[in-house]
Amino acid sequence: MAAPVPPGASRPGDNTSPPAPNYNPNFRGFPDSLADNMQNLNLNRPPMTSNLAARPPPFGQSPAFPSSSPSPGIPGPSPPFSRPGPPPVAQLRPSVPGYGPPSSTLPLNFVPGRPTGPPTSQPMFLGSRPRPSTLLSSTGSPAAPTSGGPYPGSSLPTHPIGPPLLTPGAHPNTLTSTPLSAPQVMPPSGSSGNVMSNGPPVFSSGALSARPQFPPINSASQPPVGPNVVRTPPGPALQSQLPSSGAPQGTMPPLGSPFGVPSWRMQPQQVAPPPVPGPTQTSQMFGMPPPLPNQSMTTTISPAVGQTGAPMAGPSKIDPNQIPRPTPSSSVILHETRQGNQATIPPPATSDYIVRDTGNCSPRYMRCTINQIPFSADLLVTSGMQLALLVQPLALPHPSEEPIQVVDFGESGPVRCSRCKAYINPFMKFVDQGRRFICNFCGFTDETPRDYHCNLGPDGRRRDADERPELCRGTVEFVATKEFMVREPMPAAYFFLIDVSMNAVQTGATAAACSAISQVITDLPEGPRTMVGVATFDSTIHFYNLKRALQQPLMLIVPDVQDVYTPLETDVIVPLAECRQHLELLLESIPSMFHNNMTSESAFGAAIEAAFLAMKGSGGKLLVFQSVLPSLGIGALSAREAEGRTNTSAGEKEAHKLLQPADKAFKEMAIEFAEYQVCVDVFLTTQTYVDIASISVIPRTTGGQVYYYYPFSALSDTAKLYNDLRWNITRPQGFEAVMRVRCSQGIQVQEYYGNFCKRIPTDVDLAGIDCDKTFMVTLKHDDKLQDGSECAFQCALLYTTLFGQRRIRVITLSLPVTSMLSNLFRAADLDTQFCCFLKQAASEIPSKPLLQVREQVTNLCINALFSYRKFCATVSSSGQLILPEALKLLPLYTLALSKSIGLRNEGRIDERSFWINYVSSLSTPLAIPLVYPRMVAIHDLDSKEDHNSVIPSFLPLSSEHISNEGIYLLENGHDCSIYIGDSVSSDILQRLFGVATVDEIPTPFVLQQFDNPLSKKLNEVVNEIRQQRCSYLRLKLCKKGDPSGMSFFSYMVEDKSTGGFSYVEFLIHVHRQIQHKMTA
């Protein structure tokens, strides 16, 4: 288990990539630059306006950047449009925002400006960033140095500039330049200078943290590229990176974060080292020229407006191309979790990175919303940010990462603090010649067990620290002793429960399920420990005795669906090896056996209860395939969606009630299931309302999940069903697990969020846990921490592996405590924070009116930005919207969140319930795309240069970027839509779909591969995405002028819609709110 390689997921193997660091640089540059641009735009710079325009150009120019960077801003004007193109680059979005890193570095460099920097100077930042690189060496050096190597400077540096806007175009560089507009002020523009150094600098910054993986090459290529083709250029860079990342993914998506955003890494690292500088760095702001937008008019912001306004005049709006957007980075980042005995800032969750565990756990397993811990509750409140951990204890590692080491302490079991029971970890301090050790959680001094004793070296560390994984690694796995078992580790039992009611049979769902199961059986682990059972149900429950002695399977019907029972004590679940043939035969015959089934009722609740009773003895996984609303027996539900509709007046008010479970029946069952270690996954292959809100309680409580195929089509969903099932069964996972998170004194766990059952406040019980399940753990202060000390978090997961070993995975993270607000902002982890927003919002949707939830989300965003504005960017004029670099994408994500399925008024109840449920266990790398999907153009796939990245660069989610002649693919990690404009050339249609007109494309759409490069490329892209996401995305065809087309446009979160602001409007809204607060 230690380092289970997901079946599917083989990472690229390019561990080597690490070197690449450079790549990113570009990207990252962007972020910053973007930010800068923003700032510039709005704020001070009259030039801003120009900037706006300019920005685009930057890209184009980018090539020049390096040196020219300064100018960038200027040049920018010309190519605003570049956007279109640029997007591709942008894909990297990931965290692009380039964290603080730049800033961090910046600080150093700019220091001068910076210090104040935050304020207006932002532009400076931009500039500065690049600098940073240089600086890096200097400042960052500490940490960076090592990584610094990357500089090679070859290339990327440019990026560093990362004018956010630019992001679109990969050329952050240009952006940077643009941003510079601000820069202008700043010599920093020089930053652009970075550009020159481009590669290097940026990297450097990035490098610090992430080793420049792509080193030279990228740099080389990029520079040129960037400049030329605005977007494309980025592409290259990206691509180059991607490849590496991609490769890995190729095997499996494990990484999850498809976007390798190289840029980030840089930042993170930087951060780490230079924690201090924070203040300066942090400030990356956009100046939002209030005036710009017409709206501004209304606002009081006038002053600022005036200024910018004038310039802007022409545009009279914020240039949508210049505002912060995610910039994908494609290169793989190398990340060391600690350097110089300091926690480093991890790369963005959505980036592609390789971790070396040097004391802290890999951020894949556990990451904190802020990579420094506020010393007091007040400070945290002031920051307006959340303090929470996101824990994904069995996350897939990168294939190039060292496997988790398994430590066996023999009969005595792992060494633990005798008071708080925390497990031994690298931060326990041995004293008294190693005879005792001080717990880093509770501070208690324990005796070192005699046979664990070891002398201390001159540095105060145990001499054996480096040989013992538990003393030098943030993540280890201990072999559990008897003490951790209440019984023999359970076998791997799989029970398949299939709906065979009329509807299921007729829609082909039953056949699809049977065929999927039949195929998947071959993937189950061999051996006597693998047990399998099958049952079907309609208004009754049908078990099958698969015992070998029987000549044919025996069908056992349990007809009492009010009070169910298992029809056999044994033989319902039998070792796979003994029943393989029977099972195959059975699965083959089920669809035909029920071919004429006229029973439309479904006793879902009773069926799972009965299956549970059959599994009660061993526990295991219960996989349920359900097609209609449970209508009979235990847990029967009513079609309350329809009822709600007819009763609209009440429905409106109580709308969210439909998102709550109908009654307690399922909850009670679920708790019992969890107690007996039965984990339930539900596959909903339906064409009607099935009340997911009620059904999902069971998977959520038992550590399972809901799969939703709506409207189910046997033609197009069979493959997905199979792939989902296969991944479900073959992914790394564990059974009968218990998880607890411990924190150092002064902090305590407030609450756990995710799919689990909680019986006592401190632990969560997990009948099943797998690599995709993520938990959010909110934290609160119960005391002040000491500034300068470290605060540790330890997640201990006790579980049984597929092979029947009992293990304890211990994941430890130790972060510095700070009393400086600016540090917090610099160390903020955007992806993680946003993931918190998302999960919190999702958990509140069922109990609050939507409007309130949306407001709450917006306020969370505003509060953080306001705090930054007020306390960290005081210098800037009130007319500027200033965003902390690390969080510059927060407004965009927040806006996207408020328009997401779960927070929209319209939409089917089930869809929203599913969304809520999906989010509850969602990992951070998937949370971002869920809300802010990536969109690529596919009509011209073959015309684009292949830059090693299979997936072309992303387009901003704005309808401006959708042309009627184009075909676009949009994916959010779960679904995938292909949008076809109404004027697409029939040649393209012919090549991609084998038909001449849009109307001829068959409606249950199935992607086919035709013998032409375009079609092949599309298939490659789709497959690549699937691998990255560990999900066989559901393909949906959307046509312009069709309801499906409308649904596609609902993903265009940057557009103004009935549901809310356009992106630009939203920025203005945020800005106003902040101003309002400032003046209040």
Binding site: T540, L550, Y565, S592
Partner: protein
């Protein structure tokens, strides 16, 4: 049979009465001590009974049927009902009637006739309207096998092979269903071709009939409820039920055999020191529900093969804990049986349901321990089912009996369905009830007595199952209004009419009408007539049935005392003696055997229950209550035949003195037949003389009792246990227990050589008589 019929005391009517002449008043009747009762063999076959292919004529007021005792006015075409004196016109199709041309039912010798109605005009159409006409004419018998699976492999094999054989014997059109049970009930859907399919019901929960239907997917179509047996299948049930669960034997023989091959013993784990969980009660409910849904009103049998006590769910008779023994008579007496009453109540409910559906429960119990026959008795008896109790499914008692059920021909049981009995009687006569396998239909009328014995409160009874040996005891009373004041106006004869309608084994519907008349005895003075009319054998059987019933119904009932008191009163009344002089006591020959019957009844398993388990007692009583008089008399007082070289086989005294070293005795106590070899015979046999040509006579002597035993066994159901034993052998106890202990250890010295003694403190017949005489003559 036919040659026997001539000597048959029951005659053509099959009616035997305790008294063949009745006193006129209730008071007088009570002085007769032995109650007024009639035993009627409802459908005993008799060659002289005419079968009339048309519908009977009924009296328009009392519904009794035209019979030879009616008075006629052939000119006016009028007949006068002997029961109510109503004048009825003959209908037009009787217009040709005259003194010299009367229909069969009016021939004086045809006091019993059978109307066989053409099926088409049968109002109780049993056919399934959905089937083709041919099938409709020939309703199929329905058999649902209910097999216990909580048994050891060996027993399982025995029972499976018995089942295979039975299935092979079924007529092709018979509908067959199969249910197995253990911890849970498994209803096998025989009509499902894709694979073996069973519906599983949990055993721990009582399931209402509606639930059963719904859960078997048979509900929902507005199926008629219980009580609808008469209206039968009018509504037409969806064929699904029949074709899914009940299949013609010809169609499902293969499936059933396959199923039996695969059937395992119950797989639910049995904790140590526990009985397996066996849900007989629920299984029976489910079977009843299934039949109720599929074939209401049609003759159908649930054939339950049970291998142990019910321990799960409703109908449980004992806990699963092995340290907790199954209830004994002692427990019942002390009311220390937590399960008994509840279980009986459950089976009563089941009986009610089955009766309303017209279905029969047959119980084949084979186990060394009790299985709950005592509790299930009510369901078996009220539906007229068969019951066989054996020690093992491998034992011939089970194997041969079970086979007999399905066999055709001479030995067949003549299983009939859906019988109803109606009784019409002269208006002075009241009916108290019936003891025997039937259920009261609660049909009130002027002939219903105030007091109830057995199934009463009615003049009509339901017998879901009946066969040619079924014999019911009807208990009569006389109207309390004293009519003796004006005897002149009264008919010296009284009449009883028994109307039995039933569905024959071939599906044919028949109505048998038996009308009997007897004389009133006008005054006590005329007691000679009364005495001559006494039927000792019948009286003994009636007393046995009555006392058994009282033992079951009345708490703390002292049967022995009750019998003694009655016997003494009878002897006092009808004996010939001088007061207080025992030696002067003599009894009229009409009564002379009765005291010995009572003596043996007192010692029988019916009264001395403590030597048996409640299950055995219940079993014996069920047999007693359904068998004809002569068989029942054998149960009370076994017959003993002696075989020796010097004489023909001859009845011997049921006395230990009948034992001799050179004799072979054949004892028939109904449930067991004992061939007992005297010591010398046994020695000769052991020396193999019978194999030597010169000793053929010996071989014949040995063979004779065996042949006779086989003759007895052949006609009997359940098949008796055959015990072959030698004097002083351990098995000899089966004989000794039945013999009068005239020789015990206390008087052994008086015995002749070669004879035997019985080690007992029981009184001998001689002692019993001495006491009887003494008490009878007391003033």
């Amino acid at each position: 049979m036919s040659e026997l019929a001539n000597t048959d005391p029951e005659g053509i009517d099959g009616v035997r009465m305790t008294w063949n002449a009745w006193p006129r008043t209730k008071v007088e009747a009570s002085k007769c001590v032995v109650p007024l009762a009639a035993n009627i063999s409802l459908i005993r076959s008799h060659p002289d009974i005419p079968r009339l292919p048309y519908a009977p004529l009924r009296c328009k007021t009392c519904s009794s049927i035209l019979n030879p005792f009616s008075r006629f006015d052939f000119n006016a075409k009028i007949w006068i009902c002997p029961f109510c004196y109503q004048r009825n016109h003959f209908p037009p199709h009787y217009s040709a009637i005259s003194e010299t041309n009367v229909p069969g039912e009016l021939y004086p010798q045809y006091t019993t006739v059978e109307y066989v109605l053409p099926l088409s005009s049968n109002p109780n159409s049993f056919g399934n309207p959905n089937l083709d006409p041919a099938q409709q004419l020939q309703p199929s018998p329905v058999f649902v096998f209910l097999l216990d699976t909580c048994m050891i492999e060996e027993e399982m094999e025995f029972v499976k092979s018995a089942l295979r054989q039975a299935i092979g014997l079924l007529p092709d059109n018979a509908l067959v269903g199969f249910i197995s049970f253990g911890s849970q009930v498994q209803v096998h859907e025989l009509g499902f071709s894709d694979m073996s399919k069973v519906y599983v019901f949990r055993g721990s929960k009582e399931i209402a009939k509606e639930k059963v239907l719904e859960q078997l997917g048979l509900g929902g179509s507005g199926r008629r409820q219980a009580g609808a047996y008469q209206s039968g299948l009018k509504g037409g049930f969806p064929p699904s039920g029949v074709t899914r669960f009940l299949l013609p034997a010809s169609d499902c023989e293969y499936t059933l055999n396959l199923l039996l091959d695969e059937l395992q013993t119950d797989q639910w784990p049995v904790p140590p020191a526990s009985r397996p969980a066996r849900c007989t009660g629920v299984a029976l409910s489910v079977a009843a529900g299934l039949l109720g849904a599929c074939v209401p009103g049609t003759g159908a049998r649930i054939i339950a093969l049970v291998g142990g006590p019910c321990t799960e769910g409703p109908g449980s008779i004992v806990s699963k804990d092995l340290s907790d023994p199954v209830r004994s008579h002692k427990d019942l007496d002390k009311d220390a049986t937590p399960y008994f009453k509840k279980a009986v109540k459950f089976y009563e409910g089941l009986a009610k349901q089955l009766v309303s559906q017209g279905h029969v429960l047959d119980l084949f119990a084979s186990a060394l321990d009790q299985v709950g026959v005592a509790e299930m008795k009510v369901a078996v008896e009220r539906t007229g089912g068969l019951v066989v109790l054996a020690e093992s499914f491998g034992h011939s008692v089970f194997k041969d009996s079970f086979k007999r059920v399905f066999e055709d021909g001479e030995q067949s049981l003549g299983l009939c369905f859906n019988g109803t009995l109606e009784i019409n009687c002269s208006k002075e006569i009241k009916i108290q009830g019936i003891i025997g396998p039937c259920t009261s239909l609660e049909k009130k009328g002027p002939s219903v007595a105030d007091t109830v014995i057995g199934e009463g409160n009615t003049t009509a009874w339901k017998m879901c199952g009946l066969d040619k040996s079924t014999c019911l005891t009807v208990m009569f009373d006389l109207s309390s209004s004293d009519r003796s004041n004006n005897p002149g106006t009264i008919n010296p004869q009284f009449y009883l009419q028994f109307l039995t309608s039933y569905q024959g084994p071939d599906g044919q519907l028949a109505l048998r009408v038996t009308t009997v008349t007897r004389r009133w005895v006008d005054s006590p003075a005329n007691s000679e007539e009364l005495i001559q009319g006494f039927d000792q054998e019948t009286a003994a059987v009636v007393m046995a049935r009555y006392v058994s019933l009282k033992m079951e119904m009345e708490e703390a009932f002292d049967a022995t005392r009750w019998l003694d008191r009655h016997l003494i009163r009878l002897c006092s009344k009808f004996g010939d003696y001088r007061k207080d002089d025992p030696s002067s006591f003599t009894l009229n020959p009409s009564f002379s055997l009765f005291p010995q019957f009572m003596f043996n009844l007192r010692r029988s398993q019916f009264v001395q229950v403590f030597n048996n388990s409640p299950d055995e007692t219940a079993y014996f009583r069920m047999l007693l209550n359904r068998e004809n008089i002569s068989n029942a008399a054998v149960m009370i007082q076994p017959s003993l035949i002696s075989y020796s070289f010097n004489s023909l086989p001859a009845p011997a005294l049921l006395d230990v003195s009948s034992i001799a070293a050179d004799k072979i005795l054949l004892l028939d106590s109904y449930v067991s037949i004992v061939i007992f070899h005297g010591m010398t015979i046994a020695q000769w046999r052991n020396l193999g003389y019978q194999n030597q040509p010169e000793h053929q006579a010996f071989a014949q002597l040995l063979q004779a009792p065996r042949d006779d035993a086989q003759i007895i066994i052949r006609d009997r159901f359940p098949v008796p246990r055959l015990v072959v034993c030698d004097q002083h052998g351990s098995q000899a106890r089966f004989l000794l227990a039945k013999l009068n202990p005239s020789a015990t250890y206390s008087n052994a010295h008086e015995m002749a050589a070669g004879s035997d003694v019985i080690f007992t403190d029981d009184v001998s017949l001689q002692v019993f008589f001495e006491h009887l005489q003494k008490l009878a003559v007391q003033s």
